[in-house]
């Protein structure tokens, strides 16, 4: 027999039954123990793990059904078989309702007992194999919330797993929407700091002085409006992980401040003199080419080296198209709960449209498109039309236009979407499949403005 031996507990008040059944089962190579009453059976269930329980229904004191009830609570994976000399339909039904695997009338036909044992052993082996396979599959295609079967991503998972165990600074590089924060959260969750806080900061969303105060905190009266002392994100992340998103966008002064903290893990609050020491693991992320920024003199070389201890690159979705079907089923599983619909999948036509799309907004764009599809879909299956994407092969623009640069196309498209949303940046970012910060950056870059006076988008942030 392969694998570990099946352990059987025989529970019967008659010694002769315990002996003869035990002897018969031992010859099959099973490990058999016995209990003379319900109470001692429950004790053995508390102490050791059993695969099969053969329980006599009628016993003085605690009867077989009570033992079965306890067994279901203590060891729900064990297969319980009820034995009785007096078969009644009622007790059989009651035992099966309580979760018994089978019901045997004493004395048993040898073939019946033999087949039942084979059935139990085979079923338990299948369950064990299934659990092992599921584990292996999850391990293979998943790193926390990130799913992928592409070879590049598998190597990335391995690196991220190893990096999680260390305390080194990690630099996550990837396009907008490729899942940089999701990866940072996964690394935090896999790290020894998992019990500590995960504090995300978007460096691009704030002005220099606001970001400085956000990161390091401030003392009361440090600047106009600083009415009370406030702790910064570095302090909030003590014992945990600080995620600095869009780190390539910070000013020269803040680059220097950040460098100092990374070097000696100490800093002053804005307007303060007290030196504050923190135990923080930093994960930084950017969609910028930092090496080029260093070469161009817009990013400090020393800070780059401090951040670039363990670089992890997240490939864009268009470079791992084989993951799209896996991601679609992963997101639909979640969206089914979120939108409270029993979504079974996407139609073949919808999948063709999804596979043909370029996904400039990466995984986030895919998720948003599927969310739209999930909301719009009238049945269980999302149709191509529900997605709101152009079909493969469909003409891009009917009117003839003079060729323009990719950047110009991007600018026009953003302007059109903003116009479409009436200046609502959040909504526009969702449609474009990028985050708000990135959209703000692009708007700044292309000098685009929201339509003035639109009440739908709250100001600031």
């Amino acid at each position: 027999m392969n694998g570990e031996r099946t352990r059987i507990l025989v529970v019967d008040d008659e010694e002769i039954v315990r002996e003869s059944l035990g002897g018969w089962l031992e010859k099959d190579g099973y490990e058999v123990a016995s209990a003379a009453d319900g109470r001692s059976a429950v004790e053995r269930l508390k102490q050791e793990k059993w695969n099969v329980l053969l329980v006599d229904l009628k016993m003085p004191g605690m009867d077989g059904l009570q033992v079965l009830g306890e067994a279901r609570k203590l060891q729900p994976d064990a297969a319980a078989v009820m034995m009785t000399a007096y078969a009644t339909v009622d007790t059989a039904v009651q035992a099966m309702k309580l979760g018994a695997f089978d019901y045997l009338v004493k004395p048993f036909d040898p073939e019946e007992l033999s087949l039942m044992m084979q059935k139990i052993v085979n079923q338990q082996r299948l369950v064990r194999e299934n659990v092992a396979l599921r584990k292996a599959l999850k391990k293979e295609h998943r790193f926390r919330d990130i799913v992928s079967k592409s070879a590049t991503m598998q190597r990335m998972f391995e690196l991220a797993q190893a990096a999680a165990r260390s305390n080194s600074t990690i630099l996550v590089l990837g396009e907008s929407g490729s899942g940089k924060e999701v990866l940072a959260r996964a690394i935090h969750a896999e790290s020894p700091r998992a019990e500590g806080p995960f504090v995300p900061v978007s460096c691009a969303a704030l002005t220099e002085s606001l970001l400085e105060s956000e990161l390091f905190g401030h003392e009361k009266g440090a600047f106009t409006g600083a009415v009370a002392r406030r702790k910064g994100k570095f302090e909030a992340a003590h014992g945990g992980t600080l995620f600095l998103d869009e780190v390539g966008d910070i000013s020269g002064k803040l680059q220097l401040d950040l460098l100092r903290v990374l070097e000696d893990r100490r800093f002053h609050r804005v307007g303060g003199t007290e030196l504050i020491e923190v135990d923080v693991r930093v994960i930084a992320a950017t969609n910028k080419d930092l090496k080029r920024a260093v070469a161009e003199g817009t990013f400090r070389e020393d800070l780059f080296y401090r951040l670039n201890v363990i670089p992890i690159v997240l490939p864009p979705l268009r470079e791992r198209r084989e993951d799209i079907p896996l991601l679609v089923s992963h997101f639909l599983e979640r969206l089914s709960t979120e939108v409270k619909k029993d979504l079974s999948g996407v139609s073949a036509e919808a999948m063709a449209v999804i596979m043909a799309h370029e996904w400039p907004g990466n995984v986030r764009e895919l998720r948003n498109v599927l969310e739209r599809g999930a909301v719009v879909a009238t049945g269980n299956v999302i149709q191509a039309a529900d997605l709101g994407l152009s079909r493969p092969g469909a003409p891009a623009a009917p009117e003839a236009v003079a060729p323009v640069s990719l950047e110009e196309v991007e600018k026009r498209h953003i302007a059109e979407v903003l116009q479409h949303t009436g200046g609502n940046v959040s909504q526009a970012a969702r449609i474009l499949g990028i985050d708000r910060v990135t959209l703000y950056n692009k708007m700044r870059k292309f000098q685009l403005r929201r339509e003035e006076g639109d009440p739908r988008e709250p100001g600031g942030s």
């Binding site: 027999m1 008659e14 002769i16 039954v17 002996e19 003869s20 059944l21 002897g23 018969w24 031992e26 010859k27 099959d28 190579g29 004493k106 004395p107 048993f108 036909d109 040898p110 073939e111 007992l113 033999s114 087949l115």
Partner: protein
């Protein structure tokens, strides 16, 4: 004397051809001398009037009490055997113990079958099987090995009459002592 004692304990008269057939198989399987015995009386205390069957467990005890006291003793009978938990058994043995018993009663299947040769073959297989238990062997997963579990006559017919290589290896000690 150590070795195997083959003992007819049936209600009817001993069939010398049947016992010789079993003896030859035991000799081949275990490589030990096999002595033939005969009892004057079957072990009547093993009879259960309520079930109208004979308790194989009580027969094992009887064999140990009345047997030669050394080696292994295999009782062969023609009465219907049972253990309390099962409707019948072809035989029973003490795992790693001194006694085993087998019966022809359920091997006449279908009951009207008159072919003694088939019953002899079946009995020889069950005799080697039960004595294998007495030598410490448990049921074997190798298809058609004589030590594979055979809860029905169909299963008995499907298996061979000898031990597989793995079971032989497990029996190392007695096999080493016997002729190759």
């Amino acid at each position: 004397m150590e070795g195997i004692h083959l003992w007819w304990i049936g209600e009817g008269g001993a069939d010398p051809r049947l016992l010789e057939h079993v003896r030859a198989h035991l000799d081949r399987a275990f490589g030990l001398p096999v002595a033939l015995w005969s009892a004057a009386e079957p072990p009547r205390e093993a009879y259960d009037p309520r079930r109208r069957q004979w308790s194989s467990t009580r027969i094992l005890r009887w064999l140990l009490d009345h047997g030669p006291g050394a080696g292994k003793v295999l009782g062969v009978t023609d009465v219907d055997l049972f253990i309390p938990i099962l409707t019948f058994v072809f035989g029973e043995a003490q795992l790693g113990g001194g006694a085993a018993v087998v019966s022809t009663a359920r091997l006449h299947d279908p009951p009207e079958m008159g072919d003694d040769r088939v019953v002899r073959q079946r009995l020889a297989k069950e005799a080697v099987h039960e004595l294998g238990h007495a030598f410490g062997l448990t049921h074997c997963g190798t298809p058609r090995c004589v030590m594979s579990r055979s809860p029905s006559v169909r299963d008995v017919d499907l298996k061979r009459d000898d031990l597989c290589a793995e079971c032989r290896a497990r029996l190392a000690r007695p096999v080493e002592r016997g002729p190759a």
